[in-house]
Symmetry: C2
Subunit: 313 residues, 2 copies
Amino acid sequence: MKVERIPLRDGRDDVTLTTYVLDDSGEMLDGSPRPAVLILPGGAYLTCSDREGEPVALAFASLGYHAFVLRYSVYGDADPMQDLEPRERSQFPHPLVDVGLAMREIRDRAEEWRVDPSRIVVCGFSAGGHNAAMYGTHWDKPVITDAVGEGLRPGALIVSYAITDYVDVAERAREQGAVEQAIRRAAAVAYLGTTEPGHDALIAASPALLADESTPPSFIWATGADSLVPARHSLRFAARLADVGVPYELHVYEQGRHGLSLATQASAGSRGDLDSRAADWFRQASSWLEARFALDVPELSAWERRPLREDPR
Amino acid sequence: MKVERIPLRDGRDDVTLTTYVLDDSGEMLDGSPRPAVLILPGGAYLTCSDREGEPVALAFASLGYHAFVLRYSVYGDADPMQDLEPRERSQFPHPLVDVGLAMREIRDRAEEWRVDPSRIVVCGFSAGGHNAAMYGTHWDKPVITDAVGEGLRPGALIVSYAITDYVDVAERAREQGAVEQAIRRAAAVAYLGTTEPGHDALIAASPALLADESTPPSFIWATGADSLVPARHSLRFAARLADVGVPYELHVYEQGRHGLSLATQASAGSRGDLDSRAADWFRQASSWLEARFALDVPELSAWERRPLREDPR
């Protein structure tokens, strides 16, 4: 496996693509390209969480897919419980354009890494899930095509406990607890530059209101007990895909808090991040992905194709 | 993740330890050591199969364990369908001592890699499974302690479709097909230096006849349809552990050929290596391992432990 951290923006070390590129072997795919999964960790556009980076990359790599972790533009060290001053860096469209830069880097090096560029999955968690869904609804729009080029369509999306409808966020803000409201305000400053964005800005950041027939097939999951990003956001994104005729799969687990990542010991920050029922999402995503993007496993190996011969003795 | 290939024997590049050392993060274990899995691929002591190396390492890494792949001393390029001349290199005890060298390397660098040296699992497949079981029954015997030192006990073994009883192999050789007999003869030359080893040599290479109360707890699996290494070898190793009072777990899947590795697309060389029922072994091994060697996931994260404060607004 080739693990390498590649800066994607000149003069900055915060926007990076970390590769988890699998070794080739004549005993297995023998040079055939593999699908890849590009992972966008969450962190309210304030940070990129380690819990949703390497552990998730290794989970997909263990299925035979190349994996990549993108650390996109975020606000940086901040206490979400304090009022934040806006910073340009983490605001729309910069984190979204970073996804395009990552897609272009993978596409440019597809031959070297033996990636099938038509089978790159973008998989995000929480704010990273929002960023993934934004990319899925903007990859063919000028915000991406002008900045990084045409044709960088993801083969599929995996959208985990993500905000997808900022209009809903604004309308229901008062239903949430004090901590959730503080995080919501900090994230709004980070991504939209203000705690009180206008209606057009809310719509422009809402994949559940923007998805169309060019949005890729999507696997969506959430937990019903999530108090920070209600599962309603996942339902709305699914409903929009149903409306526009894009294939999707949706799993909402009744229990489990926000930010479970894999919901196993491999990604847990504390015991509350362990949830054996919600951990099912990864098995479901794995079989969904394999049905769509199975590896090109040969019918017969070289040994099985060898000419028949007599018993050598 | 730190991937590095480390030579274990001076002046040779064929005996190597490849690391798959997980990144530490303040959001997760925050410096706490993790258990590790040392993987020994199979290949009849003629080769070390890629199919039982990196894909297996990544499967264990995806559970939160550090992983290591040992390429131990093997015969080298050879057509098992031809008669082979003995070579010293791959013969007992060299491949076994290589496991000790790997255990010592991991132990020596445990602090740097944040490995818990009391929780190193040795996991082997086919000939690698034999080598793992041999290590489990020899780690406290002079063949290891004189060569690499005392106290290098594995915390557990995972023994996959391995030969464990060479006396049985010799007695039943004629029951097998021509191809299986040819591979058996080649493997015997590689490991024992002759196609007709004496009775003492057969016993000395048979973990199912040697295991005692110092053998570590073992997870054992095989497929009933394996025509190269009959599942009887797994049954015999399990029966011996039962006799000497060592905890063990055993899964024999009715169908599935020899050498399935993970039995998924991640390790398949051809379609015959895919087996959704036998692929269950890894889930069973994962929960067996977690029951014994769970990561030290904190009760509460730093964020959860923060002092309570008033609503900031």
